[in-house]
């Protein structure tokens, strides 16, 4: 316990001098980096626009009310499409993520030297390319529409699902696997009876969690023509139909809040 001497009295301190100093040094360096980056950013910013922004925001808000409620009749179909893109994309991602996760987990990979790095590369590249960029590429290949959106969401989600899943596989209780192996089970049987039951709750949790994220992601795919509500959003903004924009934004909030509620309920039920 670090103790300081204060006029001959012993006083309790949370950290000793060395830790305290290195902590302050850490804060100092972070502040320096931050100030430097801020400096670089402000050089590229037109501050007049920034000071004008509150007025602009008030102006935009005043154009948005009252929302044009009738417009929602046009939107029902695209809301359904948006949800479908998220759901089908998640299902596709799960089908691809499961084998990837088994190849990436240290305790189940067929070969730690060759297969594991490839699986890890698949995971990282899928995670680092945003679904909008995937959609941009896929619209060029399969044509505009929902199908491109589903594949974009699917490809983007593989990394996320596989990463969480392989971490779950690496954390399983080995003694259960050993017990199954001791009964003379084949490798496939060990997988089915020893490993899968242990990761099933994690799997269900991950898939619902990703579904929830994908609902949010699928609202923007329309911007590049990959289906969903984004098409209506971008065309309403382009035609300055602000009363329609506010309806769309409200619809998106409602969908996202609902999906979050569903996913929280399901995860509570499982875990």
């Amino acid at each position: 316990m670090p103790i300081a001497q204060d006029n001959g009295q012993k006083v309790w301190k949370r950290r000793d001098r060395r830790t305290q100093l290195s902590m302050w040094a850490g804060y100092f360096v972070t502040t320096l980096i931050f100030v430097w980056c801020w400096q670089l950013m402000s050089e590229e910013t037109f501050w007049d626009f920034v000071w004008d922004a509150p007025r602009q925001a008030a102006d935009m808000a005043s154009r948005m009310v009252p929302p044009k409620w009738d417009y929602i009749n046009v939107l029902w179909r695209t809301i359904w499409d948006t949800i479908n893109i998220a759901t089908l994309g998640t299902i596709m991602a799960l089908f691809l993520a499961v084998p990837t996760a088994f190849c990436a987990a240290r305790n189940t990979t067929p070969s730690a030297a060759f297969v594991r790095p490839i699986a890890l590369f698949v995971i990282v590249s899928s995670r680092s390319i945003n679904s909008l960029i995937w959609a941009l590429i896929l619209v060029a290949i399969v044509g505009p529409g929902m199908f491109a959106g589903v594949i974009a969401i699917g490809l983007r989600s593989i990394g996320f699902c596989a990463k969480l899943l392989y971490e779950a596989i690496e954390e399983i209780d080995e003694s259960q696997v050993e017990a199954i192996t001791a009964t003379g089970a084949s490798k496939a049987q060990v997988l089915v009876y020893g490993i899968i039951p242990q990761i099933l709750p994690a799997f269900a949790g991950i898939s619902v969690f990703r579904w929830d994220i994908n609902i949010r992601e699928s609202t923007i795919l329309g911007l590049v023509g990959a289906g969903g509500i984004g098409i209506y959003l971008s065309s309403s903004i382009a035609t300055l139909a602000w009363t329609q924009v506010s309806v769309i934004l409200l619809v998106i909030i409602a969908t996202v809040v609902l999906s979050e509620w569903v996913s929280a309920k399901v995860r509570h039920a499982i875990i």
């Binding site: 950013m41 590229e44 299902i91 945003n130 044509g143 529409g145 199908f147 934004l249 998106i252």
Partner: protein, 272 residues
Amino acid sequence: MTSTSEATPGKSRRWHRPPLIKRPLLRWCLWLGAGIYLAIAFGTLEVNWGRVLEGIPRGQKFISGFFPPDFVTNIDEIINGLNESLWMTITSTVVGIALSIPIGLGAARNLAPAPVYYFCRSVLAISRSFQEVIVAIFMVKLFGFGPFAGFITLVIATIGFYGKLLAEDIEDMDPVQAEAVKATGSSWLQWINYAVQPQVMPRMIGLGLYRLDINFRESAVLGIVGAGGIGVVLNNAFDQYDYQTAASVLLIIIGIVMLVEYSSGYIRKKVQ
């Protein structure tokens, strides 16, 4: 063992694995519902297989256009965009985390009184409900093209993410330690500093690094709507059919994300 047939002699005694959902009626209803939903969803998908078949050779040509990645021709633009992305990421993460601490404290049920709790929770819910790109479209309208719009967007996204996780972490903390510190007669600030903060700190450092990583990846896409960063270079390359530059930008993004991922894994191990 939760075998069903065990208790009924006469029938063949075979062990079955216990199902994930215990109630059979609920289980079958869920399966049936999922089947019906999938059938309808696939029905509305409207895949134009002719167009897809046509697209496959086009796709091959498209992908072969990425090779070899061209790092040289537009190197200045790439480095500029990358710098912009990096400092946008750092400033937005720092400001976002700084702002999300008071909101996160207010959104923890065991710290805040009810009005503050509901106010902070709704701030978090709103900042989380829009995808970054949608926020960026509006920010570009308000602040003009350039990295400042991206910065504001990422700050909003960081508040939603970090504030929510901070609030949940505080709600999950060990109340015994908190009570012990309170019993010494500490003030509220001392209580936060000595009882709450040490409990949530290790996880929050990890999450901060994770958010840094997310913000960098997001900054790569915000450029598509004009909010600055490496995404502008990527979008321009796509627009000019300069796929070789696009490939090199994508490879650089993947490389940096891998680097951040490994180093943040290392730092997290050190901290915890």
